[in-house]
């Protein structure tokens, strides 16, 4: 077992568009410890989405290795990657990606339907309700996404990501569709989960969002350009704290 939850070596991804070959990723090396809060920054076209797709086991690298939670997943077939995604990765998307006309708690239960855990209906409901509690949405279980605010929808999405107790939370621009106050709330939830020991990987192009992480990796032209520990800005937790309560943490 590796000590790293993510261990990427010489990762390359080449897309061939007819005659032309595009090197989206060109020799990425990245290791992430258990319990880290990593932000991946970069302008659009930098390759950060490709990197996210590979970290999220949605795509396979052209060359190089990627170990997730000690398992080499770079060569896995489609269905095997589906199993890995279910068990080890919790996705949070920019546009929430909840199922419409499906209640919050049912959305959260969804990963358990595909999992190998074999939970009973009752157990699934219990685990899903716990996850909703953790993101502060107790009492909203029965609401459909259309009856929830953007921030609440994103919390449901985070609860869904948490419900299988994955090795990493992988958030792709999770605040991209939210106003700044709600963004703070969501980042606060990620920080709280990270405080509890969850590894969080955040993909963003907004520097002030990235500052909520503990480590910022900058990607440009398919290569890692910068990798630094930062002073984490603590998010203001919903309704409780004064507007700015940044507490430096190193």
């Amino acid at each position: 077992m590796s000590q790293y939850v993510i261990e990427i070596q010489e990762l390359t991804k080449v897309y061939s568009l007819g005659e032309v070959e595009v090197r989206a990723l060109d020799g990425i090396n990245l290791s992430v410890d258990v319990g880290e809060f990593l932000a991946v920054m970069g302008p659009s076209g930098s390759g950060k989405s490709t990197l996210m797709n590979i970290i999220g086991c949605l795509d396979r690298p052209t060359a190089g290795t990627y170990k997730l939670d000690g398992v080499d997943v770079s060569e896995l077939a489609r269905d095997q990657r589906a199993v890995i995604r279910n068990a080890k990765i919790g996705f949070v998307f920019q546009s929430f990606n909840l199922l419409a006309r499906t209640s919050a708690v049912e959305n959260v239960e969804l990963p358990l339907l595909y999992g190998e855990l074999g939970l009973s209906r009752h157990e699934r409901r219990k685990v899903a309700l716990e996850a909703l509690h953790r993101v502060g949405l107790a009492g909203r279980e029965g609401n459909h996404p259309s009856q929830l605010s953007g921030g609440q929808q994103q919390r449901v999405a985070i609860a869904r990501a948490l419900v299988t107790n994955p090795a990493i939370l992988l958030a792709d621009e999770p605040t991209g569709n939210l106003d700044s106050r709600t963004s703070e709330e969501i980042m606060g939830i990620f920080q709280k989960l990270n405080d509890d020991g969850k590894t969080v990987v955040l993909i963003t192009h907004e520097p002030d969002i990235a500052q909520h992480a503990k480590r910022v990796v900058t990607v440009r032209d398919g290569r890692i350009q910068g990798d630094e520990r930062v002073n984490q800005i603590r998010a203001t937790m919903q309704g409780v704290a004064p507007p700015v309560a940044a507490e430096a943490r190193t």
């Binding site: 995604r85 279910n86 990606n97 909840l98 199922l99 969804l110 339907l113 595909y114």
Partner: protein, 409 residues
């Protein structure tokens, strides 16, 4: 294996939810299957009912029944009927006398007439026959008795009424012994026949009057040609012998040279049954084809809607895949939706079909037999249609790339 059962259960839940979210569309999608299955059930019920009543009618004729018609079937198979009957009462007598395999034989001459009794009258068919008739048709009198050979010899003015005729002319009963007038000729009623009910073609078999053929010839029809000779073989296994003997005898009597076409044709009960069943078969094949086309169109409807559904829910598929649905899960989900649509449609179709059959039976008074096998087959076909037409869209969904699917707007 408990796990996979649990997970399959989960997928069925997912599929059912998707259907219930789109009730109107689901219903419209089902409609093709509903109509197709309903048609199959009704058509098969009508077909079975008709076959059964044909069978009943033919069985009631007795299994050794033979009919001889005037006219001919040429070697090319075309029926030739010159309008002038080629059969005579003497042919009938000769068959009786010279064909050992034939037990009973009667000429049959039909004329239509108004039968009057007191103030009541009734238009019906008058058949001139001889006393072999009840034996050939296995049909007895419920009241009185059939006329005798001596009545035929002396052309007595007696008759036997069918049950319907007796009912209409003598609503109070007691027809036997009364007098009816047919074409102004008074006939004494000597018997009333048992009630038999409608035949295959919906004709009321009890709507007839029987009289000695000699009387009908002299008093009513005024001609000596018969419309048909009915005979019955001595036993069921002598039907072929009887036909051969009749054929040889009549050809000889009608002086038909060897190799020439006969001027009559013969049908045994089995041949009649076969011919009627063949007609029914053609009709049924036609109707089943229509029902089959309807099912096919229903299936295409399901495929169409499932393809729309897959496109519409591309994003949902992407989400499901991102959080761990395997291709198989997505395939099963959509396949299950398609099969559920078609099976629920099939069930509704079965109910409608059964209801429609009952309605046909009530309103049109057709004999209807809803067979369990047609229900099972219709149900199975509906399910198969769902699997067949649902597979392509489901596979399309399962093969989506999760990255593209998530990006889909």
């Amino acid at each position: 294996m408990k796990n996979s059962v649990v997970r399959f259960g989960n997928i069925t839940v997912v599929g059912l939810k998707a259907i219930s979210r789109n009730k109107m569309r689901s219903f419209l999608t089902m409609l093709g299957i509903v109509i197709g299955v309903g048609c199959v059930i009704v058509v098969v019920a009508i077909g079975n009912g008709a076959s059964k009543s044909i069978q009943d009618t033919i069985n009631s004729l007795g299994s050794n029944f033979i009919m001889i018609f005037p006219g001919a079937t040429s070697q090319s198979g075309a029926k030739i009927f010159t309008g002038n009957s080629t059969l005579t009462p003497e042919d009938s007598d000769a068959i009786k006398a010279e064909c050992p395999a034939v037990a009973y034989v009667t000429p049959n001459m039909r004329t239509a007439a108004q039968v009057v009794a007191g103030e009541l009258n009734w238009g019906t068919s008058i058949y001139g026959v001889n006393p072999d008739w009840p034996f050939i048709r296995s049909w007895n009198c419920s009241d009185g008795a059939f006329f005798s050979d001596s009545d035929v010899k002396s052309a007595t003015k007696v008759c036997v009424l069918g049950a319907t005729v007796a009912e209409n002319l003598f609503p109070q009963g007691g027809a036997v012994g009364q007098t009816v007038r047919i074409k102004n000729v008074p006939f004494k009623v000597v018997g009333v026949l048992d009630r038999k009910g409608g035949n295959t073609m919906g004709q009321d078999q009890d709507d007839q009057v029987l009289a000695p053929y000699t009387t009908v010839m002299k008093r009513l029809a005024g001609q000596s040609k018969v419309s048909m000779i009915m005979a019955s073989a001595a036993s069921p296994d002598q039907v072929q012998d009887a036909q051969d003997q009749i054929e040889a005898l009549l050809r000889q009597r009608h002086r038909i040279p060897a190799g020439g076409d006969s001027d009559f044709m013969m049908r045994s009960q089995e041949e009649i049954a076969a011919a009627q069943n063949a007609q029914m078969g053609i009709l049924r094949t036609l109707l089943i084809s229509i029902a089959g086309i309807s099912l096919l169109i229903g299936g295409i409807g399901i495929m169409n809607i499932m393809l729309v559904s897959v496109t519409e829910r591309t994003r949902e598929i992407g989400i499901r895949m991102a959080i761990g649905a395997k291709g198989r899960h997505v395939l099963l989900q959509f396949l299950f939706e398609a099969v559920t649509l078609s099976i629920v449609g099939g069930l509704i179709g079965i109910l409608l079909g059964a209801g429609g059959s009952a309605l046909v039976a009530r309103v049109l008074k057709w004999p209807i037999v809803v067979s369990p096998s047609s229900i099972i087959i219709a149900f199975g076909v509906a399910g198969a249609v769902g699997v067949f037409f649902g597979f392509y869209p489901a596979r399309k969904a399962a093969q989506l790339d999760p990255i593209d699917a998530l990006r889909y707007e």
